[in-house]
């Protein structure tokens, strides 16, 4: 304790008092001592200059380090944007190539009667599997995170950020739409086929392994009124509307007379082969 008390009370360097005592004892030295005092005065000024310099350097270092972190982050964000747009361009290219393949296929098949039959069958299958873009009336379900500072303050299922739309909310909504009779479903312009996964990685929701950001717009094709009532009556619809009142999730449903959902591309099967094909 005495150490702390000593530290709190004797804050002035004892040597100042001692030097003052010594000065009094020496009775005002004259002549050469004055030059020495001036010298040490200069030294103190230089020391203060050095102190200021060191302070400035230390502050500059901290600022530079923070700026370096910021640029790194900006670089990463730019990289993410670049890669995303690259992947979007590739997806568009793939869609174009798929269209031209379809056109070539039709042309090749349109020569004979059997070919025409195969072409018709192929077109029907492509529509059903979700390879081609389709258009028609349907329902648009828009899901968004709770507004900041809204009701969604309580935790939901131990998850961080109860007011966020989770992957299972999207799964719920999509399943509800399927069960209500949807014939084609797309989330934020990504068509769902039989193999599309909706899952989360960290805080992002991945649909078909592509990260999506809110708001999530689910377009479903089908009879609008049947879809709307079916979705509202389904367990998923009821659960989502509970979440809107409990956690502040934003859910908006509207009918659409004519909307287009894109194609999903051919699903790649790595292990499954046609049952008749042997092996």
């Amino acid at each position: 304790m005495s150490l702390l008390v000593d530290m709190m009370t004797n804050t002035l360097d004892a040597s100042y008092a001692e030097a003052a005592r010594r000065r009094c004892g020496a009775e005002q030295p004259a002549g050469g001592a004055g030059g020495a005092a001036a010298r040490s005065g200069v030294v103190s000024v230089v020391l203060l200059l050095v102190l200021g310099l060191v302070t400035g350097v230390a502050a500059a270092q901290v600022r530079k380090r923070a700026a370096a972190g910021g640029t790194l982050r900006a670089q990463l964000v730019a990289e993410v944007h670049r890669r995303t747009s690259e992947s979007d361009a590739l997806a568009a290219q793939a869609a174009g190539l798929r269209r031209s393949v379809a056109v070539q296929q039709d042309r090749a098949l349109s020569s004979g009667t059997t070919g025409a039959a195969v072409a018709r069958q192929l077109a029907a299958l492509r529509l059903a599997v979700g390879v081609d873009p389709v258009t028609g009336p349907g329902l648009v379900v828009r899901l968004d995170d709770a507004r900041p500072g809204g009701v969604g303050a309580t935790a939901r299922g131990g998850q961080v950020g109860a007011g966020r739309v989770l992957d299972r909310d999207l799964q719920d909504a999509v399943n509800g739409l399927w069960s209500a009779g949807a014939e084609a479903v797309a989330i934020n312009g990504l068509r769902l086929n039989a193999l599309t996964a909706i899952r989360s990685a960290g805080e992002a929701i991945l649909v078909d392994y592509r990260p999506l950001s809110p708001p999530y717009t689910i377009r479903a094709l089908g009879d609008p009124s049947a879809l709307e009532s079916g979705f509202a009556d389904s367990e998923a619809g009821r659960r989502l509307s509970t979440y809107t009142s409990l956690y502040g999730l934003q859910l908006a449903i509207r009918r659409s007379d004519n909307q287009t959902v894109p194609g999903a591309g051919t699903p790649t099967l790595r292990y499954a082969v046609a049952a008749g094909a042997g092996s």
């Binding site: 530290m7 804050t11 005092a37 103190s44 102190l51 350097v57 270092q61």
Partner: protein, 110 residues
């Protein structure tokens, strides 16, 4: 007055010139600044008490910086550098505050 100008000039130079500091010395800069500030506040208080002495100031300034740097360096070698720097900052901070309070009493009589 001149010392205050020198201090401000030093800060400006350090901020604008941004001299490169060897990376080994970088962790000691903040400690050196705090230690030197302690010496400066002690000097101001001594000045107001009327017992200021240039030589004592110079010696206390340099030894403060060296001892603080040495303590932190030793802590770094022993693996407790962070804790020791905290200790140094706390102790010197308390001294700075007490000296600042004494200076305030001198200046404002309150």
């Amino acid at each position: 007055m001149i010392p205050a100008i020198a201090l401000a000039l030093g800060v400006a130079l350090g901020l604008f010139l941004e001299p490169t500091v060897p990376s080994a010395l970088q962790p000691y800069l903040p400690i050196a600044v705090v230690a030197a500030l302690d010496a400066v506040f002690g000097a101001v208080r001594a000045q107001l008490d009327g017992i200021f002495d240039d030589r004592v100031f110079v010696v206390s300034f340099v030894s403060n910086v060296l001892v603080a740097g040495l303590v932190v360096f030793l802590g770094d070698q022993l693996g407790v550098g962070g804790q020791l720097s905290t200790g140094v900052v706390v102790v010197l901070g308390i001294r700075i505050f007490s000296n600042a309070a004494a200076i305030r009493r001198h200046v404002f009589r309150a």
